[in-house]
Symmetry: C2
Subunit: 221 residues, 2 copies
């Protein structure tokens, strides 16, 4: 199969959000795991709800709102300084161990390498810039450019419009099952990076391939 | 304020889903709480994702798919008999203790009383029929009638189209914060039945009123 562009989701796929959990635990001892899990859950939920209500706001704002809810849920207060520190952690995430080498090898094959994320550029651009990946990423594509969140077909359309290719030319990678479902629904080739050994989503949309981490891409035919 | 129709969400608002958890625990000892929580979470998530992907399926199917995921997540098998038993539990839910008296008093005031739920009629109709509420409910309105899930504006539009009233005539009650946000976004008067003392959703949409249970409605002005 002739893939022209390898397009990666960011959070959980290239970048490990574990350090956000550590920061939560540092600021809210014994509540770090609960807050970080609720934060991630509400972050996704608010993006879905705003999409459905026709009340789009950028992911940086959705992420802030979700954090406020997650902390409020524990009955604790969130001061402005801690809020900034926690949101700042999203711009300093580490990449998963195998990611730089895999992206380096892809670039050596002269294909396009891109990120496509719900994150807005004020989150994504500094994140990539401080990472060891900036030399290997040709395009940072954000759902915010078109104000349509994944998994709407309109969001994935923005990828092929940006890269000026057809959907069959794309291999899309994400660790998020719902994102792979959305990409498969749109007609991308998909590789689900199932880092946590989760079941396939029950949405009648199968990934083209399933790998444990990005090194599995070497087996892509 | 002159309210012509009191419109209630079903699951968690009028009907207590606790008995579903008991059934989960009976069939999957020590995993009942985990499965029932994951089941509810995936049920909502799948309704959102299908809405966004343009791949609507009725809530009865979404509920079945979510159950299959929730059980698979625990590494256990779900046989056809247990699946039917668990889905059947959704049609035999008990109402919260205060509900019959509150609905009876509303009916005595000669206002319209309706249910509006994401549930499809194959779930809702038998549920209401076996409950002590059937005498007090004038209309069972389902998102499935228009194949648009809450919290889309199109779903709430179906309520006023069905009842032939304007949105200002409606007081909408739900225990689900996201549902109240969607109803407020549409322009309904809202009363959030905050049974679990949760924080207000961070979606910049405030409920008109917040009550701990339905008896709070007696304070509605």
């Amino acid at each position: 199969m002739n893939i022209k562009a390898f397009v990666f989701d960011a959070y959980g796929t290239l970048f490990d959000v574990f350090s956000v959990m550590e920061k939560c635990e540092e600021l809210f001892p014994n509540n770090g795991e609960a807050i970080s899990q609720s934060w991630r859950k509400k972050q996704l939920e608010y993006s879905y709800l705003r999409q459905m209500m026709g009340k789009y706001r950028p992911f940086s704002e959705v992420t802030r709102d979700a954090l406020r809810y997650a902390v409020a849920e524990t009955g604790q207060d969130l001061n402005a300084e801690d809020e900034e520190a926690l949101l700042g952690a999203y711009k300093e995430l580490e990449v998963y161990e195998e990611v730089p080498q895999v992206l380096k090898e892809l670039k050596e094959q002269n294909v396009t390498v891109a990120i496509f994320s719900n994150g807005s550029h004020d989150m994504l651009d500094p994140l990539v810039a401080q990472s060891p990946l900036s030399d290997y990423i040709d395009h940072i594509i954000s759902a915010d450019d078109v104000k349509q969140y994944k998994p709407t077909p309109a969001s994935y359309t923005h990828v092929i419009d940006s890269l000026k290719i057809t959907r069959q030319d794309v291999l899309f990678m994400s660790s998020n099952g719902w994102d792979i479902s959305g990409a498969a629904n749109f007609g991308f080739n998909t590789a689900w990076i199932n880092r946590k050994e989760q079941p396939v989503e029950e949405l009648n949309l199968q990934p083209s391939s399933i790998y444990h981490d990005l090194t599995g891409l070497k087996n892509w035919k």
